[in-house]
């Protein structure tokens, strides 16, 4: 801050006037933002820009996914049909809700028995798992699948969901995850990471992964359901649905935050 110059009594009027205006400028405080505040602002701006860009392009993204799914179904002769349902037509956020269907019979008793034996085997073998999280997770999935098998085995019973609902839900959740990615990155990564190149590269990588994974994920789920049976829908949803998406994104995020610029100091202790 510029130092104020004292005005003396014997200064001529012209000098006094100049000193008064100069001192008034000096008295105005200059605001310097601390480094962390600057980064928070940058994070907010970048996050907002990314979010708006995604909102405007999510329609195109789902169209691209539909195009890819159609292409794969045709190329490999998969027994699947693609259906779409518009969402938010005419609004800022509008996209296609994607679903995959297949004409397949309900699971027969042989398939259910096979599933039950397999599930029971996994449940008992899981007691040998040394790690409690793995053991509990496996057993929980076995219980979920067991309940579904029971429901299918009841005479006259029908599962309250089908492949189309399953894939539509997965697609919707993937879109929500895609749109929340800028917010997640802005609340952490953009603040911590100083390099603009790293920020942009990491964001691009994560978004490209999510966009390219969407059609693949739906196709994989649909094919697995057609091969295993519709009774595996709840199991696939719990084991390989949103939880797996979050895990994969966390793994990707965990990798991008380890990126360093060449001039970054190595602060590891060993």
């Amino acid at each position: 801050m510029k130092q104020a110059i004292p005005v003396e009594a014997d200064h001529p009027p012209s000098l006094r006037r100049r000193l008064f205006s100069s001192n008034r400028r000096a008295r105005r405080k200059t605001i310097h933002l601390p480094d962390h505040a600057t980064r928070v602002l940058q994070a907010l701006v970048l996050g907002t820009i990314c979010l708006f860009a995604l909102i405007l392009s999510v329609g195109a993204i789902t169209q691209l996914a539909c195009f890819l799914i159609d292409g794969v179904i045709y190329r490999f002769g998969l027994p699947l049909q693609l259906t779409t349902q518009p969402f938010g037509a005419g609004h800022l956020l509008s996209f296609q809700r994607i679903a995959l269907t297949a004409s397949m019979p309900p699971p027969d008793s042989f398939a259910l028995t096979l599933h039950a034996i397999f599930t029971g085997g996994i449940f008992f073998m899981s007691w040998a798992a040394r790690s409690r999280p793995w053991r509990s997770g496996l057993q929980m999935l076995c219980v979920v699948h067991g309940i579904t098998l029971l429901m299918c085995a009841l005479p006259g019973a029908q599962l309250p969901f089908d492949l189309a609902q399953h894939t539509r839900t997965l697609a919707d959740l993937s879109v929500i995850l895609l749109l929340s990615t800028p917010l997640v990155l802005a609340s952490g990564y953009y603040i911590v990471e100083r390099s603009w190149l790293n920020r942009i590269a990491a964001t691009t990588l994560i978004l490209i992964y999510q966009i390219s994974a969407l059609p693949l994920k739906l196709l994989v789920h649909a094919l697995l359901v057609t091969q295993l049976s519709s009774a595996t829908i709840p199991l696939l949803f719990f084991a390989a649905g949103p939880a797996l998406d979050v895990l994969l994104l966390s793994a990707l995020y965990g990798w991008v935050i380890t990126w360093k610029m060449p001039d970054d100091k190595d602060v590891s202790a060993t």
Binding site: G77, V220, L223, S268, T270
Partner: protein
């Protein structure tokens, strides 16, 4: 089940692989043996025996006048403002003379102007202070004890919280120093003594029946990097499985061992060591760096361990092994410790669950 073509199966496998690509870096990190963390211990110092040191200072200050008065009056009895009773004995008085014959429990503080003898089988619930020498007879149980000079703990006597002696602590066979015991010069434990935390420039665990000097080979061969070990180029050797240092060899690197580490007779390790399995050190070996062992650590006779040492499991040592040095005190922490007679430590020892001095066996420990 709907039949699909082979190419569809191929696509399914490929799609699964592509979807799981982000797990690659995480899996690689998971499989890489963890680095040896920077070894930082609380240096042996006032932190561990802060209570005892504070109590020593406060007792001296609070009772200075009363101690001086007791030389004239003999015994002074009183109580603190919180109601805790105390008794101040002059240098000529004995505690036993002022206790009822059937007294088995003493619920007052005892301050002695000079020597203090605690009778056998007496349980003292409050602070016991001797300006000079404190002698605790057999089977007595003390909670807090301070000695201005030395403390002698009798057979099977027990200190439950802390014990502080300005010069020396001598514990007879079967004594138990639970809590923290600290001395200004030396702590000597006899066989079958039990201990937890100890802090002194020299801590002797019994005396070896047949002492011998450590045998060091005249020349040590530098060990070559083994096949199952990779070197990232920063002075570390990272081994995913077990590692064995042959007898008479030296290693100048920092070792990170995913399995167990065996250090041969007379070998020398100059760097830090992080072992995720068990660490077995044969006799006459020297380990100069910090040691972190996630399993059990077994040390042979006449080894030199500079430390600091942190063992998650049990630490057992053969006779005449030395931890730390007079010039550089060390810290040794283990869940359980079994040290044979003849071992010496310089600095701080902490057996988190149980520490014991084992009688020396006749055969050489391997």
């Amino acid at each position: 089940m709907i039949d699909i073509s082979f190419s569809a199966w191929l696509f399914l496998s490929l799609a699964l692989g592509l979807l799981l690509i982000p797990l690659g870096p995480a899996v690689r990190q998971w499989q890489t043996p963890r680095n040896a963390p920077p070894v930082q211990f609380d240096p042996p110092g006032p932190q561990w025996d802060a209570d005892a040191t504070d109590a020593m200072t406060r007792t001296r200050e609070n009772f200075a006048n009363l101690i001086a008065m007791s030389e004239k009056d003999g015994v002074i009895r009183g109580a603190h403002t919180d109601g805790t009773a105390f008794m101040v004995l002059s240098s000529k008085e004995h505690l036993a003379a002022h206790l009822p014959p059937s007294a088995r429990r003493l619920r007052m503080q005892v301050i002695s102007a000079r020597h203090l003898d605690i009778p056998g089988e007496l349980v003292c619930d409050r602070l016991v202070f001797a300006a000079a020498r404190l002698v605790v007879a057999h089977h007595a149980i003390l909670k807090h004890a301070l000695a201005g000079r030395e403390a002698v703990i009798g057979s099977a006597a027990r200190i439950r919280r802390w014990l502080r002696a300005e010069s020396r602590i001598d514990a007879a066979e079967g004594a138990m120093l639970i809590g923290c015991a600290s001395a200004g010069q030396e702590i000597v434990l006899s066989r079958r003594c039990r201990f937890e935390k100890m802090l002194a420039p020299v801590i002797r665990f019994g005396r070896a029946e047949s002492p011998r000097a450590s045998v060091q080979p005249e020349r040590l061969m530098p060990m070559q990097v083994p096949a199952n070990t990779y070197t990232p180029g920063d002075g570390r050797w990272i081994s995913e499985g077990d590692l064995s240092v042959p007898p008479g060899h030296s290693v100048n690197a920092r070792l990170v061992v995913g399995g167990s580490l065996l250090v041969g007779t007379g070998a020398r390790l100059a760097g830090d060591v992080h072992v995720m399995g068990d660490l077995i050190v044969h006799h006459d070996a020297t380990l100069s760096g910090a040691i972190i062992c996630d399993g059990d650590m077994r040390i042979g006779e006449c080894c030199r361990i500079q430390g600091p040492v942190r063992v998650s499991g049990q630490l057992s040592s053969g006779s005449q092994s030395i931890f730390g040095s007079p010039a550089q005190a060390s810290t040794v922490i283990a869940r359980e410790m079994r040290l044979q007679e003849g071992c010496v430590a310089h600095g701080a020892i902490w057996a988190q669950r149980r520490g014991e001095v084992i009688p020396e066996t006749g055969a050489r420990q391997s």
